[in-house]
């Protein structure tokens, strides 16, 4: 069987500050996990370590049995590990459609093709259309991303990552900035993902977390505090005190 993503003893220090402290973490194919924890606990840092944006101070990251700790970001994306950015990072000068086209073409490794049209492949165009349809982005298709409202950009951000057809998908606060009434677009999109895809979602929106995740990992000060089903986590007194507060019962 394939083992998916396996993280062992992962640590990251920024100067004197230990942000990840010996993390052990598994994300097998088909997983739907959530990573929650107080602000500054190290969740985004963990995502950045897994996707290769940061280099770990120590520890190992394996994917399907191969050690990927030394791979750069691009190589990991090509293996199928993709993430959305917590702070929207898009091709601001291009239209929504061009953003997605670029992602699909790169996934297909066509980025070096010089002598054909970028918009010339009907299959690619159809895929882009389907993606936009899924996230209700069609009306914005030909608008320059820079001029979209923040919440709209968040949805493009998600679409971009889906366009990569990843095998491991890490979502860093995908719903931040998206109104509650439209988070269903995000949950729907996640539910529509292939069953063998592994998903890790980092979110402070507990409704969304409880709806999507089958298992929740709680990170506090760079260490894993506990891991459990949504029900277990929701009733864990320590988690309630440190993170959830009174509202979630």
């Amino acid at each position: 069987m394939t083992e998916g993503l396996v993280v062992r003893g992962l640590s990251k220090r920024f100067g004197g500050l230990v942000v990840s402290d010996g993390l052990d973490f598994d994300l097998p194919p088909g997983a739907r996990k959530a990573l929650i924890g107080p602000n500054g606990a190290g969740k985004s840092t963990f995502a950045n370590l897994v996707t290769g944006i940061h280099a770990p101070s120590s520890g190992s990251i394996r994917f399907d049995g191969a050690d990927i700790s030394d791979m750069d970001e691009t190589a990991r994306v090509r293996l199928g590990i993709a993430k959305t950015f917590q702070i929207t990072t898009l091709f601001t000068g291009l239209t929504v459609r061009e953003n997605l086209r670029l992602a699909v073409l790169e996934r297909e490794r066509r980025g070096f093709r010089l002598f054909c049209r970028a918009d010339g492949d009907p299959e690619v165009e159809a895929e882009i259309a389907a993606l936009m349809d899924q996230l209700a982005l069609e009306p914005l298709a030909d608008r320059v991303v820079e001029r979209l409202a923040y919440g709209q950009q968040r949805l493009v951000e998600l679409a971009m990552t889906l366009a990569l057809k990843p095998r491991v998908l890490i979502l860093d606060e995908p719903a931040a900035g998206v109104p509650g009434s439209e988070t269903h677009l995000i949950t729907d999109a996640i539910e529509a993902l292939p069953a063998d895809l592994a998903v890790l979602i980092i979110e402070h929106d507990m409704e969304l977390v409880f709806r999507v995740a089958r298992s929740i990992v709680v990170l506090v000060a760079g260490r894993i505090l506990t891991e459990g089903t949504p029900a277990q986590i929701a009733s864990d007194p320590q988690v309630r005190e440190l993170y959830l507060g009174g509202a979630h019962g």
């Binding site: 985004s44 840092t45 917590q86 409202a149 509650g180 009434s181 402070h204 993170y243």
Partner: protein, 249 residues
């Protein structure tokens, strides 16, 4: 009825020649708490930017404590008592946490108070502003605005990206700010429920216009309105041609 601190009179505004806001009128009384809700792209951010002087005013008038401010630069408006917590946080990247606060410090605001509100920031005081986690940046953005001792605080989705415990704590803090009757709050929120529970009055926006204005409790009952204006998919009838955002970022 209490005297108004902020009045908008038939305001139209946008970022280039295009109009995002069309004929908005609004009153906020002293010590009032106003919630602004609406779906993505409705123009909520633009409303706050217009009040602060960061968007381009095409028509109408804005008065602060009876005094017209529509021709004043943002810093004058700030000195007169307006404070904005921007949706995109916009931490000054080349300043440390403490310098971010010092830059904005005016009047009798004390940095220690901000640290009391957000102890996390004190721990990170020497960090570069953009090295903070997403939630920490949000805290810094709020603290930074409080450093300018505002009378009217414009909060653009201030809870986004914060842990549930912190949200509760913050909602309480906003509550306290408005309590003594000298400070007023405008809160833009995606999560209608939270916003309506906090505010006294609420405004529902769609397509750059106000579609409902009244007591928050009343709007909370009008699920028909909320469904119609928040719960449907997006359309793109916002202006096609705009120019660069007013910010010089």
């Amino acid at each position: 009825m209490a005297e108004p601190v902020l009045e908008l009179d038939n305001v139209s505004a946008g970022y280039g020649p295009g109009h995002v806001l069309r004929g908005m009128s609004l009153r906020l009384e002293k010590g009032g708490k106003l919630a602004v809700i609406g779906r993505n792209g409705a123009g909520k951010t633009t409303l706050l930017n217009t009040v602060m002087g960061l968007a381009r005013l095409h028509g109408g008038h804005i008065r602060l404590e009876g005094r017209p401010i529509d021709r004043l630069p943002p810093w004058r408006r700030n000195h007169l008592g307006l404070g904005l917590v921007p949706q995109t946080r916009d931490i000054f990247p080349s300043l440390t946490v403490e310098e971010n606060l010092r830059a904005a410090q005016h009047g009798d605001a004390r940095i220690e108070e901000a640290y009391m509100l957000f102890p996390r920031l004190k721990e990170r005081r020497k960090n570069g502003g953009t090295q903070l986690s997403g939630g920490e940046q949000q805290m810094l953005a709020i603290a930074r605005t409080l450093m300018t001792s505002p009378k009217v605080i414009l909060l653009d989705e201030p809870l986004e990206g914060l842990a549930p415990v912190i949200r509760e704590m913050l909602m309480q803090a906003f509550e306290d700010l408005a309590k003594d009757g000298t400070r007023s709050v405008i809160l833009v929120e995606q999560h209608a429920a939270a916003a309506l529970a906090f505010a006294g009055r609420a405004v529902l926006m769609a397509n750059g216009r106000i579609v409902h204005d009244g007591p928050a409790a009343e709007l909370a009952q009008r699920s028909d309105l909320i469904d119609r204006h928040i719960g449907v998919a997006m359309t793109a009838d916002a202006p096609e041609k705009g120019t660069r955002h007013a910010s010089h970022a």
